[in-house]
Amino acid sequence: MQKDQRLLDLAAFLLKAAEPVSWREIQEQFPEDYGGRGEAAIRKFERDKADLLELGIPVRYDAGDEDLPAGYLIDRDEFYLPDLKLPPEDLALLYLAGSAALASGTFPYARDLAHALNKLSFAARAPGASEAAGLAARQLSAPEDGDGVDVGARVEELSRAIAHVKRVHLVYLGAERGAPTERDVDPYGLFQRGGAWFLAGWCHLRRAIRTFHLSRIVSLTVNASAPRTADFAPRPDFSLAALATRETWEYDVHAPVRCRIRLDPPVPAEVVASFGPRARLAEDGGVTLVEVDATNEEGLLRHVLALGDRAELLQPKGLREKARAVLAGLERGLA
């Protein structure tokens, strides 16, 4: 019998059963699938059980007691999606966030996310306005062209590798190097920054935690052997959020340098916020002085230049000179 049919039949059978079903009875009901006496039949059943659990259907073995026989069962309470019992505004949050993520075209576990949004309409009493708003969000921000399809597939592949703790082999085109490099990476997590996705993980080539821009991954292979066995244990000190919230000038390139930037009024809140939570701010007669510790000056230079004439690099001198040189070079090209 086809595997999908067997799994569904098995689930229907166990859900309907009034009490735990013994292994022998399961064998009798599914003679072609689990028949025979060997270990093979039990292993097949165990694999099916694992597949069902991945689908959200927990089959468990009950050792039995005086009232009930020993056997396999699906707890109805553990199977059916419960009511989430959330207030309407929290439901709105779920629908809006999920829909927008899905519409962006690239999001980890995108297919799962689509299933989750579908299920949500069952898990909530009268979602109504929230659900409609969610659908609207999906329509509004869906990419109009084929952009990002490739990255979407990468995200999907890496999501699986991360969930199953499998090592990946990358051909990667770094920023500075012209030629691609090959390396094994233990994928720890995925993060989004400025609308782009990055992989974070242990790089076996550099023997350090590294981040990889997904659009720069030339090719990717996931270790296919022993799919249910973990290839690595992530380092305990790893924090995805810490890595993801690093500003570009906080990338680990050189020793920390104290930098000062002057922002002239009016200073929009988002411009101040763009220097991140670790920036030290001082106000002086409408002028905002920003101080950051940079370990990648180049990143800070680019950030400040993008703010145009409302921002000015004051210190260090060398970086200020570099800003001037870049702008002077651009000006020469204007003629």
Partner: protein, 355 residues
């Protein structure tokens, strides 16, 4: 019992199908033909994909009797062909002892699907850990007052055995930092859910000034790494997008509004149609490699020495200038003339500060 099972796998016509046909006389014959044509395509997929689909499809169709095939397919995220193949597959699904009542009672009439309430699949299964984790990651990126509650509710909806995996997985996706203050987001969420007007204190980047507006909030949506509120501005008589990180204050009004209809939303865009030409930018070889990886950038052509010409569809002149300057001197806005002038101005004014 065992006998019935044995026959099930045998050659058609099996006794099972005969029973089914008499039990559900309305079922259309062409269903099977459609399914067979699609069988090769379906077999390429992971069988679990189909299972996940049908575990949603059955209870959904039960809850919406007579739902059009087209709509059900859309809800399931598959083609109509795939859906018909799924329905055909479902006809085979039953449980021992495989008596007529042990099968799903489903039929397609015209283009509508009917499924009788099934004793086992009346509701979808719980969230899998990856379903719940993906949704939780999306929620954490948006933020809002109910974020903790929502994530906890998601966790509780995962089978008990899988909650540790859920915790693990949530820590492996970081989809961005919340784009606005909790209070602003919380109020917007409530207003969207209750269809209530909001009064916003909004900072307009193009005019570099704050303004007050009343907005009928339709939805929140994300584009190119930024979050927007999309809603109708009655004073201006049109739907507009407001960047969430530029909303300083948000107050709920008492006024209720009518939701937009589907046709209106189908026409809706987060940004008004790009007016005129998209700004185009020349990238040097150093900038090209990175710039092309950013969202919203369209490659027009490659030029000498590994450089490129790109377009930023829908971008303002200001955005184009910022984008070019952020590439550290290896990029310039070249067209159309107003965008070029904006860039030239910015370069000269900024350079003046360093002299």
């Amino acid at each position: 019992m065992t006998e019935a099972r044995g026959k099930k796998a045998g050659a058609a016509p099996s006794p099972r199908k005969a029973t089914r046909a008499s039990g559900a006389p309305k079922r259309r014959a062409p269903l099977r033909a459609a399914a067979r044509k699609d069988a090769s395509a379906a077999s390429r997929h992971d069988p679990r994909d189909r299972l996940r689909r049908v575990l949603f499809l059955v209870p959904y169709a039960v809850r919406h009797p007579g739902i059009p095939v087209k709509e059900l397919a859309r809800r399931c995220g598959c083609t109509e062909k795939e859906l018909l193949a799924d329905l055909d597959f479902l006809l085979e699904v039953g449980s021992p002892p495989f008596a007529p009542d042990d099968f799903l009672d489903l039929y397609v009439e015209g283009d509508r699907v009917y499924v009788a309430l099934h004793q086992s699949f009346s509701r979808p299964p719980r969230f899998t850990e990856s379903e719940a984790a993906a949704l939780a990651a999306a929620v954490q990126a948006l933020g809002g007052e109910g974020r903790e509650r929502a994530v906890k509710a998601l966790r509780d909806s995962v089978p008990r055995d899988r909650r540790a995996s859920f915790d693990e997985l949530v820590g492996r996706i970081y989809a961005g930092a919340p784009p606005a203050r909790e209070s602003v987001l919380g109020r917007l969420q409530r207003a969207i859910a209750e269809r209530r007007a909001v009064r916003l204190a909004y900072h307009s980047a193009s005019r570099d000034a704050d303004s007050e507006r009343v907005v009928h909030p339709y939805t929140l949506a994300q584009r190119f790494g930024h979050w927007y509120l999309y809603g109708h501005d009655p004073a201006r008589g049109k739907a507009l997008a407001f960047r969430l990180d530029r909303i300083r204050e948000c107050a709920l009004g008492d006024e209720r509004f009518d939701p937009p209809n589907e046709a209106e939303l189908a026409r809706a865009r987060l940004f008004s149609e790009a007016q005129g030409e998209a700004p185009s930018i020349r990238l040097g070889p150093l900038a090209a490699a990175w710039a092309l990886a950013r969202p919203g950038v369209r490659l027009v052509k490659r030029i000498e020495k590994g450089g490129a010409i790109v377009e930023l569809a829908g971008a303002s002149d200001e955005y184009a200038t910022r984008y070019a300057l952020s590439l550290g001197g290896d990029a310039e806005v070249i067209a159309p003339p107003p965008a070029r002038r904006h860039f030239e101005d910015a370069v000269r004014r900024t350079l003046a500060r360093y002299r």
